[in-house]
Each structure stands twice: as structure tokens, then as C-alpha cells.
């Protein structure tokens, strides 16, 4: 595992100067910093992408800088930096009637949930922070921390809109975890493991060995998973917890400045996590689509990020195209459509595997 590699490397380098406790600590901190840096840079890029993609969909140019002076740089490249700076510099307001400790805790919790999911995401054969043998299960598990923190944020704000947002998000995320999980069971059945690395290795050998092309039931499972994932990360058409035209800003109504930015950041980080799981589970992860070509470690990082990036792009695309569902429709879709489909899918895949692949 990565921590061991770094520890060995550091021991070789600095073994004589520092005790092994310090080195272990350092070798754990280094991947954390790497993830943190990755999330930050990724957030800047995806904010820029969201601005630009939405602008092109809406027939406008989006952030643009022209000529000399204070502006957002060429093609508005500095816009996300300006956004981030604005959020950092804003006054941090905690409402006097809010439940102060919980109010402060909520944004950290949601970010931790997103952050620790990154630990188990593989970017290459050996490029993974922690190669857990239950990687998939782990990601689904820690993803649920988001629910807790959203309820916490909704309750602690002591605002009726926040309360609505919190309640809606709880109902929504808990419900949609079921079809998402059931769709991933298809992957687990085919690969026979919960380890994300092994799942990806199962898909070795070019695009037609990817799980999504394994049998006719898997694409359905993929679609169900992707839509459920969309609901889990509160993106349109499932952005009910923060639907700006109904609930003002839902659970984030009372948050400002950096605390609001944490919600913002975690939403994008969660988008990456669910897309990465979809890419690893269905689209071959870091495997090249061409058997044997372009499969060096650098290429594998490229494939993983570009597959994930494509799914994130689809999420942005959907957001700026579709209206929002209503609460009861959201639940209907989940319990009456996705759940039966996901269950039938499991049977379908099982029968298919027994009949054709045995």
C-alpha cells in the first residue's frame, strides 16, 4: 500500500535522523496532503468547467477577460480563483439562534466524508492510497456521512428552510443509496470481489472486457447507478435539498463564507467519488480501452481521470438541461422504478452468468 511505500522510502532517506513514529506520521500525512491538493485543484477545474459548460449550453460565453486591467484572465481562467478568494474573504456569520457547535461541525463532517472516500479510489495499478479489500463497500459506507452532516446543517441552522432542506436530503440520500448499492452488486457478482483494484483488473483486455459490456443487463445497472448517484450528490434534477427557487438554499441557507465553500467543495468532491466508482465498476477504471496500448502508469491515471471527468461532464450537462423533480416524484422513481429494476437486474445477471459464462 502507498503508505508503506512512502514509509519505506522515508526510512531509507531519513532513517538515521528521525524516529519511525514521526516517519509513519509523515508518510500518512503526505497522501492526505496529496488528496487535499488534488481535491482543491480538481474543484477549481470543475467550477470553471461548470461555468463554461453552462454558458455554452445557455448560449453565452461565460467568464471572459479582455484587454488590460482587472479581469478574469484569458477565457476567464482566473474566475474560479476569484470565486474561491471571494468565499475565503467573506464574513463568516453564525446566526445567534443557531446551535453553535453543530453548526460549525456540519461543514467539516461533510467534507471529511468526501475526503476519506478518496483514499480508496484507484488511479493506477499501484497508485492508490489504501488498497482496501472492501474498497467499494468502504466508499459506499463513508459516503453516507454526507446524510448526517446535511441533517446536522439543516437542524443546527435553526431556520425553517434549512430544516426542509435537511429533511429532504435525508429522505433522498437514504432512499437512493439502495438502488445505487443494488446496481453495484451486479459488479461485485461479476468480478467476485469488493476490492476495487481486483474489480478493475477483472476488466483487463480492452474496451469489450469492461463490465458494462459484459452482458445486456449491466448497462441498465449502470444507468440506474448513475442516476441514483446523481440523486446522492444532490445534483439537478435531484437538487431538492438546496433547490434555490423553493428552499432559498436549503440546508446551506444560513452558511456563508468558508463554511458555505465547504459544502460547495464537498458537492464537487462527491461528484468525483461517485463518478470514479462508476468508472471503476463499469468502465474499466484505469484500464486502457485498447488492449496493451497506452497502459503505462501515467496513462492509467489519464484514463481514470478522463473516464471520471466524462461522467462529471454528463452531470453538469444534465444539471443545465433538466428541471427539478418534486419530492413525491423523487420517491416514486426510487422505490417504484429503480428498486424493482435493480433487483430484477441482479437476477438477470445471475441467470445470464450461469447460462452463458459457466
Amino acid at each position: 500500500m502507498t503508505v508503506d511505500y512512502i514509509f519505506d522510502f522515508l526510512t531509507g532517506l531519513l532513517g538515521g535522523f528521525l524516529g519511525s513514529d514521526y516517519l509513519l506520521l509523515a508518510s500518512m500525512l503526505i497522501p492526505c496532503l496529496a488528496i487535499f491538493g488534488f481535491i482543491t485543484i480538481y474543484a477549481l477545474i470543475v467550477i470553471y468547467a461548470e461555468l463554461k459548460v453552462s454558458s455554452f449550453i445557455q448560449d453565452k460565453v461565460g467568464p471572459m477577460g479582455q484587454g488590460v486591467g482587472l479581469h478574469a484572465g484569458k477565457w476567464g481562467l482566473l474566475q474560479p480563483v476569484a470565486d474561491a478568494l471571494k468565499l475565503l474573504l467573506k464574513e463568516d456569520i453564525i446566526p445567534s439562534s443557531a446551535d453553535r457547535p453543530l453548526f460549525i461541525l456540519a461543514p467539516f463532517m461533510i467534507f471529511i466524508g468526501a475526503f476519506i472516500s478518496f483514499v480508496a479510489i484507484p488511479f493506477g495499478e499501484s497508485i492508490i492510497v489504501a488498497d482496501l479489500n472492501i474498497g467499494l463497500f468502504y466508499i459506499l459506507g463513508v459516503g453516507s456521512i454526507a446524510v448526517l452532516s446535511l441533517i446536522l446543517a439543516g437542524w443546527a441552522s435553526n431556520n425553517k428552510w434549512s430544516l426542509y432542506g435537511g429533511m429532504r436530503s435525508a429522505a433522498q440520500i437514504v432512499s437512493y443509496e439502495i438502488p445505487a448499492g443494488l446496481s453495484l452488486i451486479v459488479v461485485i457478482m461479476l468480478a467476485g470481489t469488493l476490492n476495487l483494484q481486483d474489480i478493475i483488473k477483472y476488466q483487463e483486455g480492452g474496451i469489450f472486457n469492461w463490465i458494462i459490456f459484459d452482458n445486456p443487463f449491466v448497462p441498465i445497472a449502470f444507468v440506474v447507478y448513475f442516476i441514483s448517484a446523481l440523486a446522492e450528490v444532490n445534483r439537478t434534477p435531484f437538487d431538492l435539498p438546496e433547490s434555490e427557487s423553493e428552499l432559498v438554499a436549503g440546508f446551506a441557507t444560513e452558511y456563508s463564507g468558508m463554511r458555505y465553500a465547504f459544502f460547495f467543495l464537498s458537492e464537487y468532491a462527491n461528484m468525483f467519488v461517485v463518478s470514479a466508482v462508476a468508472a471503476a465498476g463499469f468502465l474499466g477504471g484505469w484500464q486502457s480501452p485498447f488492449d496493451g496500448f497506452m497502459s503505462t502508469p501515467a496513462w492509467s491515471v489519464f484514463w481514470m481521470i478522463s473516464k471520471t471527468g466524462f461522467l462529471i461532464f454528463v452531470m453538469i450537462w444534465l444539471r443545465w438541461t433538466l428541471p427539478r423533480l418534486r419530492v413525491d416524484q423523487l420517491m416514486n422513481v426510487c422505490w417504484k422504478v429503480f428498486l424493482p429494476i435493480a433487483l430484477l437486474n441482479i437476477f438477470g445477471v445471475a441467470i445470464w452468468t450461469v447460462v452463458f459464462n459457466s
Partner: protein, 373 residues
């Protein structure tokens, strides 16, 4: 198992809320997501329009009418000058009439574009809104070309207009219409037939015809309930009887007659009809005629009163003017269509979910400037 009873919660939607289209406060009683009772509180935008009018001359009222329905200033002007002209018995020449109709119909297109776009926005569809604003912008450019203003025009004066049409206006308008007509289909496909949009609006907020009439709802909202009532056809003012156009009524294509989807669709169809009227008016536009010809030196209507109605994009816009023979109105009352449209909200939206209530509110197309005056 017993039935679980929740406690009702009183929630204030507004005065600052993204979905109230201005400063409106809806005090709602909610049980979870279900809203059982809606009490609108108005007056946050009250600017004493009627009181002001009693202190200024008839000409000076026109800019005030602009500011009532700031999204359809042209038709607000139009309704007022028609009322005063009826009171004074002024006949204006054909060129002025045609220009007024062109402006009013362009304004109707602009207003409906915003109404349908914002309705989409209330349901979370951001993109159609910006596409519609883009085209509304081109209409506003045409207005700017004509009178220099982009929002509050003060263009129609009693007995005439402030300016004649500028050079190139006719070509620019025809260009715009050629560009715009295919876009209407695009809007219809983009928003109107979107599955989620239909799910959110069809069968939601049904307003039966008798309720609509009893609550004094007019304009597209009334027509969506299946009542064929358009003042341009049924009580023609200006020269609307010269033009050939249809009055779209709600047919319940996606759900029931008078649901939110019908209100959206009627507006979209009205945009098509307005395009037709503008084209005809431009065809028939007389070349000569002074737009200041019949403007009286001093507007001093004879003693008497008049109630005059015109069709604004939001419905029957009535002006009740009582003149005491001086040059200021003794009493001027605006019967605003959005005022009555908001009055029906509790009746048709009570009992629906919170998301639906805001969708219904969006479908009624209210402008707070006109409600509060």
C-alpha cells in the same frame, strides 16, 4: 397502528424569496411538505400610484403607469392612453394606431417570454430562461431603437406617440421575427414537452373556468381554463378588429384543462399569435401620418367617468378615471390583472405540496409592481 399527527408549522415565503417574483410574502401553513393554507401579504412595493395620480396632470400619469407593470410598460401606457382618449373622444390616425399595436404586441412577446422563462426557472430549468431572455433582449433593443429606453418607455402619449418610428425599424423588426419564429418551436420542445416539466405542471393547480371567472382571473390564466375571452377579440379597442389572429385556449393536452401546463402553453401560443399580428400590422403600416397630429395642447377631459379595459399580457387591464374637468384626474383606479390572479392562489394552490405551490405561483405570472401599485 394509530395515525401520526404532525404539528402545523407557519412558514413565511418571502418577502425576500427567489420564487416570489418580487417582494411578496406568502404566509403558509404547512404540514411537512403539504401546504394547507396560503395567506398573501401585499404592499411591500406600494408606491401610492393612485394617490400620486390625483396630484399630477394627465400627461404626467403616463410614466407612473410604466412603473406599475415594469415588464409590460408599453401595454400599460396603451391601456391608459386608450382610456383618456375615450374620455376626451380623441380619434388618432392610422399610423399611430398601427405603431401602437406593433409595440404592444412586441411587448406581449417580451413579457410572455419572461413569464414562461421564469416559470421554468421556478421548476429548476435554468437554461430555457436564459434562452428566452436572450430573445427578449432583442425586442428590448427594438424598443431602445424607438424611444431610447429599455424598460420604462413612456412612449405612448395621449393622442399620439413620443417619437415616430426610427429609420430601419421595420426591417429590424422583420429580421427579428424571421429569426424568432423558429425559436418558438425550440422553446416548446425544450421546456414544454420535457418529461419532467410535464410531470411537474400537468394536473397541477387546476383552475376550473367558473372559479377563474368568479375570482376575476383574466388573460392567459383565464384562457388556459378553457374560456375563450380576449378583449382584443371580444371588446376590440384600437384597431385590433382589423387583424386576423386566433385566441388560444387551454385544451388540457397534457392533463386537465386549466392546469399549470395549460397556462404555460397558452402563453407560448399567444407568442405565435402576437408574431402574426406584428407581421400584419407592419404590412398595413401607413407610410404617412404625423404621430403628434391629434395630440391635444392641454389635456383637460370633460366632466365624467370611464372604465376602459385593454388586454395586457397579464389580462384585463382596467383604468377607471373620474374627471372633474380640471387637468388632473379626480380619481384614477387601476384594475390590475395580476392583483386578481394572485387572489386565486389560495383557492387553487391550497392542499398541494410546497414545490407545487411555487410552481403554481410561477404559472400565474404575477408582477408585484402591478399588484401593489
Amino acid at each position: 397502528m394509530g395515525v401520526v399527527h404532525g404539528q402545523e408549522m407557519v412558514l413565511n415565503i418571502g418577502p425576500q424569496h427567489p420564487a416570489t417574483h418580487g417582494v411578496l410574502r406568502l404566509q403558509v401553513k404547512t404540514d411537512g411538505e403539504v401546504i394547507s393554507e396560503i395567506t398573501p401579504y401585499l404592499g411591500y412595493l406600494h408606491r401610492c400610484f393612485e394617490k400620486h395620480c390625483e396630484n399630477v396632470t394627465y400627461e404626467q400619469v403616463i410614466p407612473f403607469t410604466d412603473r406599475c407593470d415594469y415588464l409590460a410598460s408599453m401595454t400599460m401606457n396603451f391601456g391608459y392612453v386608450v382610456a383618456v382618449e375615450k374620455l376626451m373622444d380623441i380619434k388618432v390616425n392610422d399610423r399611430v394606431q398601427h405603431i401602437r399595436v406593433i409595440m404592444a404586441e412586441l411587448q406581449r412577446i417580451a413579457s410572455h417570454l419572461l413569464a414562461t422563462g421564469v416559470f421554468g426557472l421556478d421548476l429548476g430549468a435554468f437554461t430555457p430562461f436564459l434562452h428566452m431572455l436572450r430573445d427578449r433582449e432583442r425586442i428590448i433593443d427594438l424598443f431602445e431603437m424607438t424611444c431610447g429606453a429599455r424598460l420604462l418607455y413612456n412612449y405612448m402619449w395621449v393622442g399620439g406617440l413620443s417619437h415616430d418610428l426610427p429609420k430601419g425599424f421595420v426591417e429590424a423588426t422583420l429580421n427579428f421575427l424571421d429569426y424568432f419564429e423558429p425559436k418558438i418551436d425550440e422553446f416548446e420542445n425544450l421546456l414544454g414537452h420535457n418529461k419532467i416539466f410535464v410531470e411537474r405542471t400537468a394536473d397541477i393547480g387546476i383552475m376550473p373556468a367558473e372559479v377563474a371567472i368568479n375570482f376575476g382571473v383574466t388573460g392567459p390564466n383565464l384562457r388556459a381554463s378553457g374560456v375563450n375571452w380576449d378583449l382584443r377579440k371580444d371588446d376590440p379597442y384600437s384597431i385590433y378588429d382589423k387583424f386576423d389572429f386566433n385566441v388560444p385556449v387551454g385544451q388540457g393536452i397534457k392533463g386537465t384543462v386549466g392546469d399549470s401546463w395549460d397556462r404555460f402553453y397558452v402563453r407560448l401560443q399567444e407568442i405565435r399569435e402576437s408574431v402574426k399580428i406584428v407581421r400584419q400590422a407592419i404590412d398595413q403600416l401607413p407610410k404617412d401620418g404625423d404621430v403628434h397630429q391629434s395630440m391635444p395642447k392641454k389635456i383637460r377631459p370633460p366632466k365624467g367617468s370611464i372604465y376602459s379595459r385593454t388586454e395586457s399580457p397579464r389580462g384585463d387591464l382596467g383604468y377607471y378615471i373620474e374627471s372633474d374637468g380640471s387637468d388632473t384626474p379626480s380619481r384614477l383606479k387601476m384594475r390590475s390583472p395580476a392583483f386578481t390572479a394572485l387572489g386565486v392562489l389560495d383557492e387553487i394552490a391550497g392542499g398541494w405540496l410546497m414545490s407545487d405551490v411555487l410552481a403554481i405561483l410561477g404559472s400565474l405570472d404575477i408582477v408585484l409592481g402591478e399588484i401593489d401599485r
